[in-house]
């Protein structure tokens, strides 16, 4: 099995036209050709490490602040999950827990595993690497659920005098985690898996 690059060919990442590797602009769409995403591994590591740092404020600081007649009640992601369990909404609690805590953690661990296995030539075959990457890529956007729920709740209680919902700083950190992990997945060039380790 031969890669296009080894045959002196390159594919335009925009229109997928195959042409000589020496071309800088595509013959078909005239946009700039990038044979591989530049500094793909470094960019992926940078996004991942930043996302990892933001995981701490995202999980430790309140994501919502519920203001009722008493004192304001700050709620972190995990305390929100526990209050859902207390309200007998176990299924919703599981969805929120998986989307907000498990999915971001899996994304960071999965991408880090691929990068480490490529750089240290660990015993992982390419099918396993691409399976992990595709899984991370597919689940990536589902972490946004908590932010959408927050925006709906803020809108619902906007004119209510008894209960008010405002966002906490944890929401900003959580948004950063979600977007940074999506950016990390998109900046990783999957062709590097076969460039580095030909099974």
């Amino acid at each position: 099995m031969q890669s296009a690059r080894s045959q002196g060919l390159a594919q335009c990442q925009h229109c997928h036209w195959v042409q000589a590797i020496s071309k800088t602009n595509c013959e078909r769409c005239h946009l700039t050709i990038e044979v591989r995403i530049k500094h793909s591994e470094q960019r992926c590591w940078a996004f991942l490490l930043t996302a990892f740092v933001f995981m701490f404020p995202a999980n430790l600081l309140p994501i919502t602040i519920l203001s009722s007649i008493g004192a304001p009640q700050p709620e972190t992601i995990i305390s929100g999950v526990f209050s859902l369990i207390d309200s007998d909404m176990e299924i919703i609690a599981v969805i929120v827990f998986v989307a907000s805590i498990v999915v971001p953690a899996i994304k960071i661990i999965g991408l880090a595993l691929i990068l480490i296995s490529l750089q240290l030539r660990l015993h992982l075959n390419n099918s396993q690497r691409i399976f992990i990457y595709r899984f991370v890529d597919v689940i990536g956007k589902w972490s946004m659920i908590d932010l959408f729920v927050l925006s709906i709740m803020v809108a619902v209680f906007q004119y209510n005098d008894l209960v008010g919902v405002v966002a906490g700083f944890g929401a900003t950190a959580f948004t950063a985690v979600v977007l940074l992990t999506i950016a990390a997945a998109k900046s990783f060039d999957t062709r590097l898996i076969w460039d580095k380790c030909l099974d």
């Binding site: 099995m1 031969q2 890669s3 296009a4 690059r5 045959q7 060919l9 594919q11 990442q13 925009h14 229109c15 997928h16 036209w17 195959v18 078909r28 769409c29 005239h30 946009l31 859902l84 309200s87 909404m89 919703i92 969805i95 929120v96 390419n126 099918s127 691409i130 956007k141 589902w142 946004m144 659920i145 908590d146 932010l147 959408f148 729920v149 925006s151 709906i152 709740m153 803020v154 809108a155 619902v156 209680f157 906007q158 004119y159 209510n160 005098d161 008894l162 209960v163 405002v166 966002a167 929401a171 900003t172 948004t175 950063a176 977007l179 998109k186 999957t190 062709r191 076969w194 460039d195």
Partner: protein
Amino acid sequence: MSMPQATVSQSVVPSRAIQLVCPCCDLLMQVGSNHDHSKHELICPRCKHQVQAAGNMGFTKQACIAFSALLMLIYANTNPLLTFDFAGAYNTASILRGTLLLLEQGFYFVGGSVILTSFVAPFCFLTLIIINSLCLLTKRRPFWLATSIHFQQHLALWSMLEVYLLGFIISLVKLLDLAQVNVGVGIWCFAASFLLSSYLVHKISGELYWSTYAKR
């Protein structure tokens, strides 16, 4: 289930064969010139990536579906998703109102991300389908058309209508525990917009856009 038609490239490429490269693993493949990509999807034999999707929806049909989805999306964003009767107070919630309130509270990053993924990305995606399809149908080729087709393909990734729908269901279950909730017409339009745009994402052939673009 259509079968993969690609074979792994040999060193000499026979005549009347088209060279293709898997964008996922860079494998060089060749398919016969008689391969009909409207009927058969093309799967990479090495990494199992879908190199070409089956389907060849015409530009007129694409533009019509995109226009319907766009109207539904605009209606869904400006009308209430739900109405909620709590402690004698009558509340409504719409998508745009929710994100604007987040911006008003000073959470520009959170509000900006929510509005980007629930409105701006799907809105631009559908608008670009209409513009690009009409340009290709009427054989016009403005200088920005290639960039516009490129953005159309990438914006689909940032459209998160299905995630928003699940978020809405979670909010609905939480609110049902507190008081009487009535689902507004906005959410039905939102669901219709999601179904139509998902259909477009799965049926649109990027190859058709680029080959039509290159023909003229």
